[in-house]
Assembly symmetry: C2
């Protein structure tokens, strides 16, 4: 029996679905053991409908969600609209009407996933969203299936293509942040308001979803500390290079003795680390675990065909489960009590770039301040003295977030010291 | 109800299983919705049994396969003996006795997988072997589940940890092949007879299995052209470096218009390619497809805990399927008619290192020979002239395997030209 889809939205990703159903129909049909057919497509209004029809898109376009949820022939609703509303209302309606749902909407799932997942569970319906994290990389299903046997201790990710594209240009070609942003906007990688991408908010949404699949814990966006790339200077990039690192915007989720800690922050990544060579708009998820040790999953983080591939994989999965009469299991079945880490348990090395007056004894004063917090130095560079100010670069040994907050506050109290930047430094 | 395991063999990998069941028991039990217990362990003889008991291993050791296959309480037989026999006979007995089987035995599955898979299908039993390819990387299940929606065009892999460790030493530290082999043997990465690893045979086994999962085709070991790393010289390594490449032993499986082509060969990999930074004993599978485009799966290719993690993932999968009463599906359900590529359809760029007499006109003669086969040059370097012989390095534009065979034969006919080496050159 044919599986009938109702698509919500017909933007870039949605139009990748017919591409795959056509170009790879034989394999998809064999895997699903059913034909898959786009029955109806919801668009905003008659204007959009007429424009799409005129452009040669031969679908049954509708302008009301009710025409989809009340259609008994439709099995799966595929939400590709993005943003919170009306997507949330439409998905809720679809689930209430007994439709399985596939979505690529990370904002929605990170913010309201819990209630939608509960509703799907209650109705014994599938609610899958592989495309919501790292577009083309099948990371969620891999965590849910293959890594069930493993205990994950940390997930590191390059999960925002826009900022990674910009950082790649800044690192490889010495561009400034402003030039990189301008080009990203011209190429359509960055929106006119780039805040979500460059400030790490988009990546934080993904951290929320990865926390569920990797650690069984449901955290909120507010639990994810985030810091973006807009303060990274060409000096920071140059120092990183000199010390054997590249700067990346890294999602980090780790389990400490007291609980989970998730953050998005620019980080020094050793050049020999697999994440260091994830360039341009590519994404990667690097998993540390007690069994496998280190593994990495690399691919495009967005784009029409990669995202559509993940969406169709979800559709095939639902078809298979319908055939087996096992539909209705949660996408992620791994759940534990959620506990948030005490900041004194969260440890890392840090890079500091500090501007000081160019006179004797400043390094000693700095060393005293760090020493008072029990922070020791791994590397110190002093350069760019111009007779008035000097720039001191410090890479510390491992220290806690608490120590970081303390030392940052103390440094702020000294008028002559200006902390230009401080970033995490990853190990090999 | 508890799932009871019968382990065949208690070597390195097998002892990783109790580690995982203990350290990650809660998650594994929750995922399997059952306890998992090692009921019996088959060892070779009483001597091994007594040695293991004396070493504190508290299992029910048996020395006859019949004690396992005739034990009705055992659900899953886990084969970790390696080699073809007696593993093949024991797995056959287990399947015939109605046991599900998990194996990590690539040699066996590549050579006799077809008949064992048929037997498992006929008996409606699970026969899973995630650990057989790239140990800790969950590549087979990812191909079978997540990539069903995608059409794969080529798989490239670094799949032999031993030779990759050796090549990493040769590339990064300028070691000779002999020194690298000696160290690999001392570290236990290479066996005293290293043929299977260094000649690409081990990687060819993995190519056979990947061909099934990635392309739905069942090829034989004989269908996989293989060439090892023993002929790679320090000159080759240096030239690769100079031209912006690193040399890796690459498994390549591609679909051409006439059919599938699989080979294992030393290849020049551009430094910017994700496979170039897969170093040491790590493995990676790089997938090119019409949907995702490029994705890569990276992790340890062997080792106790990584391999055991894949084995336990298979066990959990069987438990889940038993709960759902859907056990008995083939691990890989993607099958198509197997067709082998015509060599004229298999195209690549190539590197040639050729020794010529150090006198005028040799490059012209070489150019004529290549030109006669319609092969054009992308890069030519002439160096190391010592008054008697010169060394010419050529990187060609794309050419077919047929042209490669022809030009190689013609060069062999010219007494003065000695082809020192010729390797594939991958694109970005």
């Amino acid at each position: 029996m044919t599986i009938k889809l109702g698509l919500l939205g017909f933007g870039t990703v949605a139009s990748g679905i017919p591409f795959l159903l056509e170009e790879n129909g034989e394999k998809i049909t064999a895997a699903a053991k059913r034909q898959i057919e786009i029955a109806k497509v919801l668009v905003k209004d008659d204007e959009e409908k007429n424009r799409l029809l005129a452009a040669g898109h031969d679908y049954h376009f509708v302008t009301s969600i009710d025409e989809i949820v009340s259609d008994d022939s439709i099995d799966i609703v595929v939400e590709l609209m993005g943003r919170i509303e009306p997507a949330k209302t439409f998905i809720t309606k679809a689930l209430e009407a007994g439709k399985h749902v596939v979505s690529a909407n990370k904002d929605l799932i990170a913010s309201h996933g819990k209630e939608l997942i509960s509703l799907a569970q209650e109705k014994q319906l599938a609610f899958y969203y592989e495309a919501a994290v790292a577009g083309g990389i099948p990371i969620l299903r891999t965590l849910a299936n293959s890594l069930t046997s493993d205990k994950i201790t940390r997930i590191l990710g390059v999960l925002n293509g826009t900022s990674n594209f910009m950082l790649t240009k800044m690192v490889d070609e010495g561009w400034s942040y402003e030039d990189a942003l301008k080009t990203a906007q011209e190429l359509g990688y960055a929106e006119s308001d780039p805040t979500n991408d460059v400030e790490g908010i988009d990546a934080a949404y993904k951290a929320v979803i990865l926390s569920q699949f990797g650690f069984g814990m449901t955290i909120c966006l507010e639990d994810v500390t985030h810091k973006g790339i807009s303060t990274i200077s060409t000096d920071d990039v140059a120092v990183a290079q000199q010390l054997g690192y590249v700067i990346k915007l890294i999602v980090s989720i780790e389990e400490t003795p007291s609980g989970l800690f998730a953050e998005v922050s620019p980080s020094f990544v050793p050049k020999s680390h697999p994440l260091a060579s994830v360039n341009g708009v590519m994404n990667a998820v690097f998993v540390e675990s007690i069994g496998i040790g280190q593994s990495m999953y690399y691919g495009p983080g967005a784009g029409q065909k990669p995202t559509a591939t993940s969406v169709v994989a979800d559709i095939v999965r639902i078809a298979r489960r319908l055939n087996d009469a096992t539909v209705g299991k949660a996408f992620n079945e791994f759940t534990r009590e959620t506990t948030i880490a005490d900041l004194s348990d969260v440890k890392s090395r840090y890079y500091f770039a500090i501007e000081t007056p160019d006179k004797k004894g400043q390094l000693l004063r700095l060393a005293e301040i760090f020493n008072a917090e029990n922070i020791s130095f791994e590397q110190v560079l002093q350069h760019k003295a111009n007779g008035e100010t000097a720039r001191v670069v410090i890479v510390t040994h491992e220290m806690s977030k608490t120590a970081l907050a303390n030392v940052t506050a103390k440094l702020a109290d000294v008028v002559e010291f200006k902390v230009l930047n401080s970033f995490k430094v990853l190990g090999e």
